[in-house]
Amino acid sequence: MTEPFQITIDGHPVPVTPGQTIGAALHAAGRRSWRTTRFGGRPRGLFCGIGVCFDCLITVNGRPPERACLLPARPGDEVTT
């Protein structure tokens, strides 16, 4: 996997350089938040960048939330918010 590929967020394409996490790819594409908090509805994206804060939780391919900053992006991954 050395060629750039795409993932989507709510159907919109996001380019990925191989080896990037989903969080890094989204942040690079200018997408800085992808969920809202339970009580205050506050937007959240990357914060610690290394899997510690859990701010970046994300739904990929309909699975239970994962940390976007740890999860390597794979071609065709579908992110929903």
């Binding site: 938040s33 914060f47 900053c69 999860l71």
Partner: protein, 488 residues
Amino acid sequence: MLLGDWDLVVIGGGPAGVAGALTAALHGLRVAVVDAGARLGGQYFRHRAAPPHSSTPGFGRFLGQVRALRERAEVLTEHQVWSVTRQVDGRLTVHCAARDGGRERPVALGCRRLLIATGAHDRVLPFPGWDLPGVLTAGGAQALLKGHGVVAGSRVVVAGTGPFLLPVAVGLAEAGARVAGVYEAGGGLGLARHPLRALGKAGEAAGYGVALARHGVPYRTRRAVIAAHGEHELEAVTVARLDRDWRVLGTRRVTCDTLATGYGFIPQIELGVQLGCDTRHDADGSPILAVDHGQRTSVPGVWAAGEPTGVGGWRLAELEGRLAGLSIAAAAAAVAATAPAVAAAAAVPTAANAPVPVPVPVPSVLLRRRRSARAFAAALLEAYPVRSGWQGWLRDDTLVCRCEEVPLARVREAQELGATDARSIKLLARAGMGWCQGRICGYPVACLAGEPPAPPRRPVAQPISLAALAAFDEDGTRTEPHTTEDPA
């Protein structure tokens, strides 16, 4: 079924873990290294999947170490360790949640010796707006750059305390970001008198100074970001002038789309705490694992190296990793010498051509180097203390706990209700009960409670699905992994 019976399992593939694993493997031990990340490197040697690699000093040598390690040891990436247990006979089991292809799978590693090299994470302080997207930890911004080639923003403010702000700002500026300013809450005299100079690192400080000047980045001391503004994302920050205790003297607004903030580091020691390792407080009050000259913790069979034994940077981490590796090899050789029958099982590698363990002395030159590096690290921690004035930056509605969205007012209310320590603030206000288990809010809550941070008790150190957890059978080992492919 238990995956292997290793002479040594190393948790953490940063400078400390890789050095320790390789050293032990070169002495003939059967070693497995586990790391949560997709690639070895840890924080300092974090790198992109393919070139161009950063110009990180020491990186070439590190890649060499990794190559050598892969030939001699099992490397398990994307394995998150959630628990470590020790049986009465001294055998250790490392419980991981492995992620491959999105599915989570339990993996348990049995071993006789364990090296905890889990590093540290950023220490952050809360302030109004700190949970706006665009506010990142300093290490987070660095990780994006080093690990992904992603520049965190186009107009960036770097703020906090400690020498780590300098490489972060320089890295961002050199990668093309416009760095609007570096705001160091401590110190009084600027780069010319930066503590790195006093500590005999004049060259390093000057190098950062030159780089910042070249990019026209202002470096200001006694300044902090005390508020972040924006509707859905960061648009500007309030930068305050501070007195000695970090109380606000005056403010101005600085436009930016990204803030990288950090107030030092917090060693990740919960796995050691799970095992009952003795802890002590570092120069900055952080709980750390207590180790002897051979990096041995108080629990037999358990070693620790790098940031978990005190924040000291990658060089010290690597040095401690080597020392731990030597000390572990020596322990294995001692077993081999005294109890041949046990040793046959304990230390003889399966590969026929692998070396048989020999007694390993720990060179005193390494011990001396470590002593001076530790002294330097302690001096740096003391040069960049966190002052209590930050508590005055908070408003009643400022979130202290981001996960459970607990504002300062609820913390204060809990204290009114009889919460006299950080733990009872957690029980009454839910600060620290959420996803991150207090990794982020633990430090500020301890400060608000007026106590030094306690060693973290996290019996489940990483989230694990109920199905994966249920798959462990009675004796703490795993049953067959889920091989079912995900239909999605």
